[in-house]
């Protein structure tokens, strides 16, 4: 197991290198001049040239690339063009709301969607099954920002149950944090729930038709135990795969949700940085998201080995 983890981490290095290269090229080749943004519209050509040479933008692309790569290797993501703050600390400052939001969304999803999907499979073709599948189609088709605004309108503005927007850290005031988190995490979780409940259902339906499920019944297991103890562990691999893929979905969801609920997280930071053409920040964020994704994949690989003894790398 330790060897698996070590090897996977080693394999992540080339992946990150490719990501870094793409990130670099993408931003350098896209239109818009950061020097112009910093200097302002009225700046003269000398001022622009000075800023360019300060930022190294007058160097050839290859030189820029390697200078940048060397800096990243030292953990130096550069400074934000706008706020002059190091990019790394900028991301860390905004990390907490995003992590809290994402984790609570995943938690809600797994706790609700897996049982929902399981019950739908178990009561295949019943009204429960149809209701769950209906809900998942809705969850799937309605965009996150629409759901967010509808929830705000109904539960915050009309019913006055939850705050409209803002963020309170759960480390300072857990109760207020819960009220502030409820709507955003639900918004974020809904698409994800639709996906997971569907996969759980279809994966379980397949497993429920297998011989060992019949064996489990023949041993005198009650239905509940057949479902949880025998069928679900065997259906876990596809479910885990989709949870992993769903986290990628979550990253884009976080950006939208944080804007709708005005949360000061990494998602908001991303949008602000892109709009301001704050190159170093955008680069740092893209690398950061990629790193998270690689990390999630590692966790999933480890989870496979734990849930299915037949999988060995």
């Amino acid at each position: 197991m330790l060897r698996l983890i070590a090897l996977r981490i080693a394999m992540a290095v080339p992946v990150m290198l490719v990501v870094a290269t793409i990130v670099f090229l993408l931003l350098r080749l896209s239109p818009g001049d950061p020097a112009l943004i910093i200097a302002g519209e009225s700046a003269g050509p000398e001022a622009l040239a000075r800023i360019r040479s300060q930022m190294g933008l007058d160097q050839p692309l290859v030189v820029q690339y390697f200078t940048w790569l060397a800096a990243i290797a030292r953990g130096d993501l550069g400074f934000s063009i706008l706020s002059k703050v190091p990019v790394l600390s900028l991301i860390f400052d905004r990390l907490e709301p995003t992590l809290v939001l994402a984790l609570s969304a995943i938690l809600i999803t797994v706790v609700i969607a897996v049982p929902l999907g399981a019950v739908a499979a178990w009561r295949h073709n019943s009204w429960i099954d149809r209701a769950v599948m209906m809900l998942s189609v809705v969850g799937f088709s309605v965009p996150a920002f629409v759901i967010g605004y509808i929830l705000i309108l109904l539960l915050s503005v009309k019913a006055d149950l939850f705050p409209v927007q803002g963020y309170v850290s759960p480390f300072e005031d857990p109760l207020a944090a819960l009220r502030h988190l409820a709507l955003p995490s639900l918004t974020l979780a809904l698409v994800f729930m639709a996906l997971i409940s569907r996969v759980t259902r279809s994966s379980l339906l397949e497993v429920l038709g297998e011989d060992f499920v019949r064996t489990a019944r023949a041993k005198g297991n009650v239905e509940r135990r057949v479902l949880w103890r025998h069928a679900l562990p065997n259906a876990a691999v596809p479910i885990i795969t989709v949870i992993g893929l769903g986290i990628a979905l979550l990253i884009s969801g976080v950006v939208v949700t944080e804007s709708v609920f005005n949360l000061p997280g990494v998602g908001r930071l991303t949008i602000d940085a892109i709009l301001a053409r704050d190159y170093p920040v955008v680069q740092g964020l893209m690398l950061f998201f990629a790193l998270i994704y690689v990390g999630v994949n590692l966790l999933i690989d480890i989870a496979y080995v734990i849930v299915d003894p037949r999988i060995r790398y």
Binding site: F212, T215, A216, A218, K219, G220, V222, R312
Partner: protein, 541 residues
């Protein structure tokens, strides 16, 4: 045999099929008793209702589709046809237990086998401690003669052999010494030598645990070896029952007679000496499966070890052996689905062992394969006509000619010419195997490799397909390599036999000589394990 109350008494049991099928009942008015320390065998072909009867006793039928529509099932006096779900959960595993056909799929793949056995105790004896359960599991595993119970209890099903898995299933069934054990084709998926061991084990355990056994089987050999009482079923009805000596030796019902008649026996065909020039000559063929794990650790399996033989035109060579002996690897290598490490395959003088690309594709038309499972070897979404003309058209025949040839072939294998636009699901298993044979013949091959081509079929269908093979061979004159685990089938159709063990040919000779005067000790072992030798003598007398 016994005068006391039967463990299981089934009276007038009927199970209804959903409307709109060709018959209204899966099982109709079935009655029989199972007594303590007795094995009752229910025999029949597929569709006879034997497995439905077994599942009905456990109440494991999918009750939305198959409903018990009448009759009683009394287990130790209690009618379980009307028992509540809660009561059924109490009875299953403790008073009645079931053993299934395919022990690999019947065990939970992600749970250690020791835990799976312990689960029965956990469900029905919730008071016991984990240590007590562990101790009992070890005891049960020793009981069913599993080696190293301590270590095996921690293994997962995929790490065990087929026979070991079935022993785990039996240990699970015996855990609480149930009154009734239902075994649905418990040895069908196993090798003959393993089958013989498991059947012997059944006998021993029966006396030790004082249970009764309801065994479902299609194999009259098994019946002759273990049954105390036989019930013969056809299309949901019992057509005959009685003591095995009587049913096997003097069957009353014509269906029983036909069934017993169809069971292959050792019978050798005499053929004029085949031509001397071999169509294919295999020289010192070796194949090793290399499994490189993620970390570079290598596992090597020697699948073929210096295999040599020749095959004359028009001859049939039987390849027999247990699973894992290399039979299928040999078949795959001849078709060049696998590339051998070393050795030569001389097809009409040309070495095909190293062919690649277009040359390989061109060679393939000369060697065709018929697979074991006719349900899985035809594309379910293609009309059979498409399947039949695909190969010839690929190799340059015009579409019209290919269709004409396909129609002729359909007739040749005993199907209707105009059935080409139907889908595979519209045919029975035997008919599908005929289509697979037609598909192989459509390429006008010099050699047909048949891998367990009749093993999935009922005995009566098996006999027909074997006759078809012989007949076609006489008319068209292809050579055949016939891979099978069934020595009787091999004796019926093969001129010569190659006995394989662990990738090597341990004996090779004319069929009659190999089976009647075996030289290798392994051949003798195989022959001794063939079920129902006693019955064969009995019927022959």
């Amino acid at each position: 045999m016994t005068t006391c109350e039967p463990i299981l008494r089934i009276e007038n049991l009927s199970v209804a099929l959903p409307e709109g099928l060709d018959r209204s009942h899966a099982v109709r008015n079935v009655s029989f008793d199972v007594h303590r320390r007795q094995i009752l065998c229910v025999v029949g072909e597929s569709g006879s209702g034997k497995s439905v009867t077994a599942a009905a006793v456990m109440r494991l039928l999918p009750e939305k589709v198959l409903r018990i529509s009448g009759g009683t099932i009394r287990l130790e006096g209690e009618d379980i046809a009307v028992a509540s779900p809660e009561r059924l959960c109490q009875l299953r595993g403790s008073r009645m237990a079931m053993i299934f056909q395919e022990p690999l799929t019947a065990l939970n793949p992600v749970m250690r086998v020791g835990d799976q056995i312990a689960e029965v105790l956990q469900i029905h004896r919730p008071g016991t401690s984990a240590e007590q359960r562990q101790a009992r599991v070890r005891e049960l595993m020793a009981d069913v003669q599993l080696p190293e119970p301590e270590r095996l209890a921690r293994a997962y099903p995929h790490q065990l052999s087929g026979g070991q898995r079935q022993r785990v299933m039996i240990a699970m069934a015996l855990a609480l010494e149930p009154a009734l054990i239902i075994a649905d084709e418990p040895t069908t998926a196993l090798d003959v030598t393993t089958q013989a061991q498991i059947l012997r084990l059944f006998r021993e355990l029966l006396t030790k645990h004082d249970s009764g056994v309801l065994m479902i089987t299609h194999d009259f050999g098994v019946v002759a070896d273990v049954a105390d009482h036989v019930v013969v079923m056809r299309q949901g009805d019992i057509v005959e029952h009685g003591a095995p000596e009587k049913v096997l030796k003097a069957p009353e019902h014509p269906y029983t007679r036909a069934l017993i008649e169809a069971v292959p026996r050792f019978r050798y065909r005499s053929r004029p000496d085949a031509a001397d020039t071999p169509v294919i000559a295999v020289e010192a063929l070796s194949l090793t499966y290399r499994n490189t794990s993620f970390f570079g650790a290598r596992r090597e399996t020697r699948a073929l070890d210096a295999v040599s033989f020749t095959l004359a035109a028009g001859e049939t060579l039987g390849v027999v052996g247990e699973s894992g002996s290399g039979k299928t690897s040999l078949a795959k290598t001849l078709l060049r689905f696998e590339t051998p490490d070393s050795g030569r395959i001389l097809f009409k003088g040309q070495d095909i062992a190293g062919l690649a690309g277009a040359a390989l594709r061109d060679m393939r038309r000369h060697i065709q394969m018929v697979f074991q499972d006719p349900y899985k070897s035809l594309n379910p979404r293609r009309r059979i006509g498409q399947s039949l003309i695909e190969g010839p058209v690929q190799h340059g025949l015009s579409r019209g000619d290919a269709i004409a040839r396909a129609e002729d072939l359909m007739e040749l294998v005993g199907l209707r010419r105009d059935a080409l636009d139907r889908f595979p699901h519209e045919f029975s298993g035997g008919q599908r195997q005929r289509i697979c044979i037609a598909r192989a013949l459509a390429m006008e091959p010099a050699i047909i490799v048949a891998d367990e081509a009749v093993s999935a079929l009922d005995v009566s269908v098996q006999a027909q397909v074997l006759r078809l093979f012989e007949d076609l061979q006489r008319r068209i004159g292809f050579a055949m390599i016939f891979v099978t685990h069934d020595l009787r089938v091999a004796s019926n159709i093969c001129d010569r036999i190659a006995v394989m063990q662990r990738g090597r040919i341990v004996e090779l000779g004319p069929a009659q000589r190999v089976f009647q005067e075996p030289e290798a000790s392994y051949t003798r072992e195989l022959l001794a394990a063939v079920p129902g030798l006693a019955s064969e003598r009995m019927i022959a007398d």
